[in-house]
Symmetry: C2
Amino acid sequence: MNRTAVARARTDESTVREKLHAAAAQLFARKGYAAASVQEIVARAGVTKPVLYYHYGNKEGIYRAVLAAALDDFEARVGAVEMLAGSARTRLHRLFGEVFDLFHRHLDVVRLMHSIYYGPPQGAPAFDFDRAVFRLHDTVLKIVRQGQKAGEFQGDAQAMTLALLGACNECIDLELVHPKMAVDAAGFGRVLDVVLRGMRKKVRQ
Amino acid sequence: MNRTAVARARTDESTVREKLHAAAAQLFARKGYAAASVQEIVARAGVTKPVLYYHYGNKEGIYRAVLAAALDDFEARVGAVEMLAGSARTRLHRLFGEVFDLFHRHLDVVRLMHSIYYGPPQGAPAFDFDRAVFRLHDTVLKIVRQGQKAGEFQGDAQAMTLALLGACNECIDLELVHPKMAVDAAGFGRVLDVVLRGMRKKVRQ
């Protein structure tokens, strides 16, 4: 193949992977791991079984790949915000903006995580979701403490962290469970602002 | 039977129902509706199958009874707080205190609700959980608006409502998913206070 053909083949391959990830996430989330079949996944993605087996080996392989891709994306975004300068308030807004956007892009993966956390056992392979949950918690707590040190925030750091995470999770849950009541990014920003206002250090006059 | 015997029989019956509710909630929550059998429920409750059939008719009957009992309890508590006088802040603390306590008492029912909302379809009969979700949302929003009218709160009423609900749901979710990180009622009160501080109307000096 010449260079153009190689580039095109790579693009095709990445499109195939994207389609397979989207189909698998949707089926695992809606039917459960056990009930979703390789046949359904490839049918929804518009490819044949051998394509899935070639890239992922088996159903467990694509399950792990879908989750790992979403968690890598999460890690990259959280890591990027950690590098930023600026006030703690600005960084928290940026962090939760990224998380909110990410959750919306991977809504089926979030739904799948919820079904694994809360649902009855469905025979899904063990996967360490907690890593992402603790990563977000610890990053938020770290920025909150930096904000306290810098004199921006006052109060109980753990309570502030849970209030922030609660605001984020509430808005994501609405999207999952009651989409008619869901808020957009601007609406989520307003919920976050209620919490951030409650964290602000009072300036004596 | 004499009166004492009648009273004792009633107590026994209510104990049997309590045991059956607890066993059913636990099994439905942990195994899923389809996988939990009447045989397991009665074995865990320490009674025989005919006792369950006598009181509830069948598996669907006890499923509905467990959920209805929890939702009636919820409705009674929310209704009682609505009757209270006092500042909006005090009533919100009281309301969420009741909800937090109730969720802790019915943790398996909360887990079951989550598994129905988020989990894969498990053949459970339709049940209107949304009624309780909207009831809480609407009650919080009503009190928030009363607080705005009274000059206690300022800001976006819907955003404040979601921030409050988020604080509550975050603390309940911790209990369900990461019990080691869970907070007690006092800890939850501190999370709520972060949000309530952010809602407070600023007094010009």
